[in-house]
Symmetry: C3
């Protein structure tokens, strides 16, 4: 009781993000004409891939995502819902999907960063692992579909996750409670991602390119 | 002696599948015009990639495939045989390659599922790891060649591995000896895969796709 | 003091290779029109990806590359330098980049092989892990850009790393000191790679291909 342990918060946050990302992965698979298994596979890897990479890199194996029924079931449920209700899903407006994705991105970035910090890794590495947790699943999904990953294509996507992770690290280093740091970091990621979509922000490119 | 240990069976099964998959990976590389090293690399990853992913996810590192000379040697031997006897390999009829591949798929699915169960992972995860063991090597091979992986393209391929793994899990949960459960699970995978090829079975696609 | 420990040499060698590979990864990203984050990501994975794969396979997690600030900082510095000085980098002649790449390849092959041998893995596997350390980062970079990896496209590239790793293993098995074995192995890799570029050497392809 003497130490505030953020693990329960991390679990909740992980599960919410898992469901959102699973639906997104499934919709990508459906859009690509894959069959039921392909839809479930892409739901699974999109939802759980980032956390699995994080845990493998941390040496925390088997990964949280595979230790219990909980995470795979939530991911497969997201895939199954998207598969069974594809017409409904297609009616979901684009802005809503973008917003839900931004929420998932923020949740995962914060969960991954927190886990790395709890293990005593350097701040720079915690930020890196938070970003990987947030973007790794989508990256595996895109690689499986032989697309250049969204993380490299979309301006201010991984950058938003990275910024949120950095804010969280600074918060904890500054002595804020882990849960509050996570909240502020997640909010920063969410705000940055949504603002970049709305205002069309992008990162600079190298001077000589396109010149 | 009191506990029946399936590890010897698993090793034998792994080695047989390794050789078959190595030849397949090598033939893909030869068909793509790769040089000797590329052929050996694709033989290696196709044969051992699935088991390596499984072991990394289980935290059983270094992976079985890298602990001894045995697995790499069998995989490279498969690649070298295919390279040296390419003309002969091209004469191997398509149905035979399909059948051998189905055998490898069944062997690997069963070996991977057994290893995960022996480690006490949840049944759903054991089924998942069995499927990854069976399809992971071919998936890495396809990613290296920038193709959408067979696991997502071919109807009833990963699904057959998954079904066989599930049958094996149910068998062991029902109290059957591990070796018998593996036999039944492998037979289920093999039968399903070959029947799907013969009869052109496929999984459903989402309602709205192609509509 | 009784045992000669090559770990300091390995660290130095790793850091030098890290910087060279980071610049190369960044230049690839800049050439592909990616933004600042994409440049840093590709610098990071090109420089550290091979060592991370090696450490994950060895079960040495978290990987060396993520344990301290050192490696990520060196990799990101290489990416930032390339990004800020792109014009300058474009003026770097092609032969110099090829030579620096060959040096990085040699350094990484030797570092990876040494680490695997220090862990007591079989020689064949040590050679394999040395080759992966040298070529894994570039492979991930190419996969992220949906290109068939250089390791499979460029004649005598991974093969040079493999040959250097093999020479190093033979040296240590023959009783040479680890540092000397590493020097000879690295020189062998470097000489083979540069000679193959100069003289246009290539590996054989299978008999029937192109026939």
């Amino acid at each position: 009781m003497a130490r505030l342990r953020p693990s329960n918060l991390v679990t909740l946050v992980d599960l919410a993000g898992t469901f959102v990302f699973a639906i997104e992965g499934a919709m990508t698979a459906i859009g690509g004409g894959l069959d039921l298994l392909g839809v479930l596979v892409l739901a699974f890897v999109t939802a759980l891939g980032g956390g699995i990479i994080r845990d493998v890199l941390l040496g925390a194996t088997p990964p949280d995502a595979l230790r219990t029924w909980l995470y795979p079931t939530v991911a497969l449920a997201g895939g199954a819902v998207a598969f069974a209700q594809t017409e409904l899903m297609h009616d979901v407006p684009r802005w809503l999907m973008t917003n839900l994705d931004a929420v998932g991105l923020s949740l995962f970035a914060v969960a991954g960063t927190g886990k790395a910090m709890d293990r005593g890794l350097p701040s720079l590495v915690a930020v890196f692992l938070g970003t990987i947790t947030a973007t790794g699943g989508g990256t595996i999904r895109d690689i499986l579909l032989t697309r250049v990953p969204a993380v490299l294509r979309i301006d201010i996507y991984a950058s938003a996750a990275l910024a949120g992770a950095a804010v969280m690290v600074v918060g904890r280093k500054a002595g804020l409670p882990p849960a509050l740091s996570a909240l502020i970091g997640g909010a920063a990621c969410l705000a940055l991602r949504l603002a970049s979509v709305r205002f069309g922000w992008s990162l600079p490119r190298a001077v000589s390119y396109g010149g």
